[in-house]
């Protein structure tokens, strides 16, 4: 690849707004970013793509001049930025007082977690007005009027009332809108969005991204979008820069990157991205080889095999009419006045060797169902049967045995492993608890065997969890489930926090283990594309109730319920040739909290096709 071929092919001859050349950032001895070049013209969106640790956030912080306060140094390179007032300046050598004037006014940043970006003790109106006053001066009254205008611009419903609210009173999506309003308050020429939607539900993500795009079209600002979500890149970016281990490995217009990736890493990344609808014509999910990078060369591992693991006969788990309510508000004498109806009449069953995906957005009650199955939440009403035996009728010994048969894998593998114990001890924990093996040597051998089985080196059994990467930690959690000889694994967002290439490996690992050991999974997720890849059946939950349940092909291929359709439509398509135009509506998922004595209406499910049930509208 020559330098000219790598230059972004923007037709406009506009002068670049930002030109980064040879940027090298060091944190102590470690070089986080090595010699990166970027260039961005006004009105365009540049996506910076890479996995955690690739240096993409460090690049953003460098442009914001925040590297010194993060404890690093910009060792080499220049970052020329075209300011509105001072002309072209080099951000790399700009003294902090001048940088402060640029930051927020000319370059604004939107962070991943909106709650931490907002001050919890000030109202929304105060915080936005404060930003305006700080950078542009003027009267407090004018600033407040402008704040109102900004809130309307980011389509927050009832903007007037919103000015007086506090951050904790808003939902995640609303908070991110407020953060965007704040970022826009000084009409920045460059907007840096660092994983702006990673913490949000998929329908909210779609809303926020289309809002950003509209704002860009309106104001002509340039956007640097930092993300690991290739679907998002395909839908929004004009140009793409791919980072790998602190180096730029590929650069080009979005169409070229997706159609003709050059570097092995880009190829692997694109290969790993699950695409909704790519298995549309298959009845059963199937395993597929994934590309991995092994010391600079790409290698395919795994095999293509249909996941025909479901056994007919009696189900391994059956949930009947499950109700879980939590009191959240009480009156003066302690009687509950409000309850969250986390699960309201949930029915589902799982066959041996089957993966049932439970899909929904935050607050839908999907995790509560998982916890009830794990005996971590006591249901208010309803029954759960494991192999035909009701939980309620079980003796203490049977319940203990059940804790071995049903095992959880959580979203955050680091938090679910005790940081003070070696990973070998953690894996061996269920063996000790249930007395599965006797003798130190036997247990040690078993742990080593399990580590090898999930793709880890057995000799690392005496390391601690923090020494592993995210994907490896999730492998450790899977090894622990295998140590328990679990037959049903409740995987609650188990791959959601992982980089896409790692995600693909873990999904393939789970599927292989299912085939080898006829494991059943309750796969709780909000990611439709991953669900399609791995699930045999899909259940969609909304406000504590199942609105649609059926075989994967039916639910994903021909969804009947409006909510399922909305959920599927919101999934970004990782193909820049098929961009979907979305309207930026601002609808919110209503709360599952209700007054006592006012239970939600129970939905009735109708069978529209064999095994495919949909709630009546």
């Amino acid at each position: 690849m020559t330098a000219s071929a790598m230059a972004p092919s923007t037709e406009s001859a506009a002068a670049p707004l930002l030109e980064v050349e040879g940027l090298t950032v060091r944190f102590g001895e470690r070089e986080a970013v090595s010699g990166i070049d970027l260039s961005l013209v006004p009105g365009k969106t540049l996506a910076v793509v890479g996995e955690s640790g690739s240096g993409k956030s460090v690049t953003a912080l460098s442009v914001m001049g925040l590297i010194p306060s993060a404890g690093g140094t910009v060792a080499e390179g220049s970052m020329h930025f075209e300011t509105a007032v001072d002309g072209r300046i080099d951000l790399a050598t700009l003294p902090e007082p001048r940088m402060r004037r640029i930051r927020g006014a000319e370059i604004a940043m939107i962070f991943q977690e909106p709650m931490t970006a907002l001050n919890p003790v000030f109202t929304i109106g105060n915080q936005i007005a404060e930003t305006i006053l700080e950078h542009r001066g003027g009267s407090a009254r004018a600033a407040r009027a402008e704040a109102l205008e900004l809130l309307q611009k980011v389509r927050l419903p009832d903007a007037e009332a919103m000015l007086g609210r506090y951050p904790h009173q808003l939902s995640g999506g609303m908070r991110q809108r407020v953060v965007i309003a704040m970022a826009l308050s000084c009409r920045p020429r460059l907007l840096i969005a660092d994983e702006p939607t990673t913490a949000l539900d998929v329908t909210v993500q779609a809303q926020i991204m289309s809002l950003l795009m509209e704002i860009q079209a309106d104001s002509g600002a340039a956007i640097i979008l930092i993300t690991h979500d290739m679907g998002l890149v395909a839908e929004t970016a004009d140009d793409v820069v791919v980072l790998y281990e602190g180096r730029k490995v590929e650069e080009g217009p979005v169409e070229d990157i997706f159609a003709r990736p050059q570097h092995v890493y880009t190829k692997m990344l694109l290969d790993a991205v699950p695409q909704l609808g790519q298995f549309a014509d298959a009845v059963l999910p199937s395993r597929r080889p994934v590309t991995i990078l092994d010391g600079g060369t790409a290698r395919q591992v795994g095999e293509t095999r249909v996941q025909d693991t479901v056994k007919s006969g009696p189900p391994i788990l059956e949930v009947r009419d499950l109700v879980a309510r939590f009191d959240v508000a009480h009156d003066l004498i302690g009687r509950p006045t409000h309850r969250v109806h986390a699960a309201e009449g949930v029915d589902l069953s799982i066959q041996p060797g089957e993966t049932l995906a439970l899909v929904g957005e935050s607050g839908s009650g999907k995790s509560t169902v998982g916890k009830a199955i794990q005996q971590l939440v006591r249901p208010t009403d309803g029954d759960i049967d494991f192999e035909g035996r009701a939980y309620a009728a079980m003796t203490a010994a049977e319940r203990q045995r059940l804790k071995r048969d049903v095992h959880s894998i959580f979203q955050d593998p680091l938090a679910s492993l005790n940081p003070r114990r070696t990973v070998g001890d953690s894996i061996a924990e269920p063996i000790h608890i249930h007395g599965l093996l006797k003798g130190k040597a036997a247990i040690r051998n078993r742990v080593r065997e399990l580590m090898a089985l999930v793709g880890l080196l057995p000799e690392h059994h005496d390391l601690h969890p923090h020494q592993f990467s995210g994907g490896q930690r999730q492998r450790l959690c899977i090894a622990r489930a295998l140590a328990a000889e679990a037959r049903l694994i409740v995987a609650d967002e188990a791959v959601s926090a992982l980089d896409v290439s790692i995600q693909a490996q873990i999904v393939q690992l789970l599927m292989r283990l299912q085939a080898e050991r006829s494991l059943s999974y309750l796969f709780i997720s909000h990611d439709m594309a991953v669900v399609e890849e791995m699930a045999h059946r899909v259940a969609v939950m909304y406000l504590g109730q199942i609105v649609e349940i059926g075989p994967r092909q039916a639910v994903i291929g021909s969804p009947r319920h409006p909510y399922t359709q909305r959920l599927l439509a919101a999934v970004p398509v990782p193909d820049p040739a098929h961009r979907v135009v979305r309207s930026s509506d601002a609808s919110e998922v209503p709360s599952a909290m209700r007054r006592v004595g006012d239970p939600p209406e129970r939905l009735h499910l109708t069978e529209v096709a064999p095994g495919h049930f949909v709630a009546d509208a």
Partner: protein, 294 residues
């Protein structure tokens, strides 16, 4: 397993190895602290050989004599050698302080752990009782306890320990509640781990740094509290050379013979600060997550 990508942890270089003591010695502050504490402990162990005079021998030198070659820390009202008394004082002050602390920490820790882990109504009532007890100044509690138990060294240890229980119970209760909320505790519960197993393997190791920090920060306080009781005539009886008693002995002569307070005060100060520095460092070292940052 040919289809599997076996990956090595990014931080596989094992930082296993140097024991806690070796690691303590690698940092100058904790190394100095260890040296000082070792010297003080040697004082306690080998007092008869180190001290040049008998600590209770009157007229070993002039009365209220200033420091000089023979009496490097001077002499007190009765002409006793202050340096010898400081050396012998380590025999009383250090073990009494440590015993007091361990007793209080054990009892308070057990109470706090039970309150925090069991929770519910037991905690609601227990925590209020602890709060009420915290309302009394610890020294008043200790005097109350001594008046019940009687005067003497052992009684002082028990009294000060009892007075410290509410303080320790409260901090450990808080740490336990935080530790209990860890996802790895929930996942152990889901696996069917017993209460004892969770406490011993998951909660205790998690709160251990808090316990160590609490202990080292309070060791000085424990030494001071026992000294205070001795000063009030409720603990170690004169002429026993104890640092606290020596401090109060010297108080009246601070204008004429400041060395009478400076020497035991310095010993007390060095003992407390070195214990604190070591404690700080130890709680860092025993946390495996800090290994990479050493």
């Amino acid at each position: 397993m040919s289809d599997l990508f076996v990956s090595a942890p990014p931080e596989a270089e094992r930082v296993k190895g140097p024991g806690v003591l070796r690691q303590l010695m690698t940092k100058p502050t904790s190394a100095v602290a260890i040296v000082i504490l070792t010297v003080l402990v040697c004082f306690a162990l080998f007092a008869p050989w180190i001290a040049p005079f008998d600590p209770s021998q009157a007229s070993a030198g002039p009365r209220l004599g200033a420091p000089e070659a023979e009496h490097i820390f001077g002499t007190d009202l009765h002409g006793r050698d202050v340096f010898s008394r400081v050396v012998w004082g380590a025999r009383y002050s250090l073990p009494v302080g440590a015993a007091t602390l361990l007793l209080g920490l054990f009892a308070g820790g057990a109470l706090g752990l039970a309150l925090g882990y069991i929770g519910g109504r037991f905690d609601a009532i227990g925590a209020r009782v602890v709060d009420v007890l915290l309302g009394f100044p610890a020294i008043v509690m200790a005097i109350l306890a001594v008046s019940v138990l009687g005067v003497g060294l052992v009684q002082v240890v028990i009294a000060v320990a009892i007075a410290d229980i509410p303080k320790f119970a409260r901090v450990i209760r808080g740490a336990t509640i935080v530790a209990k909320q860890n996802l790895f505790v929930e996942s152990a519960l889901a696996m069917g781990a017993s209460r004892a197993r969770i406490i011993v393997l998951h909660v205790l190791p998690t709160i251990l740094p808090t316990v160590i920090l609490l202990g080292t920060l309070n060791l000085g306080g424990a030494i001071l509290s026992t000294a205070t009781l001795s000063f009030l005539g409720l603990g170690v009886q004169p002429p026993t050379p104890e640092w606290g008693t020596m401090l109060s002995d010297g108080r009246e002569y601070i204008r004429y013979a400041p060395w009478m307070m400076i020497a035991p005060g310095l010993a007390l100060f060095l003992a407390i600060i070195s214990v604190n520095l070591i404690g700080d460092r130890v709680s860092e070292i025993i946390d495996p997550r800090s290994q990479g940052r050493l």
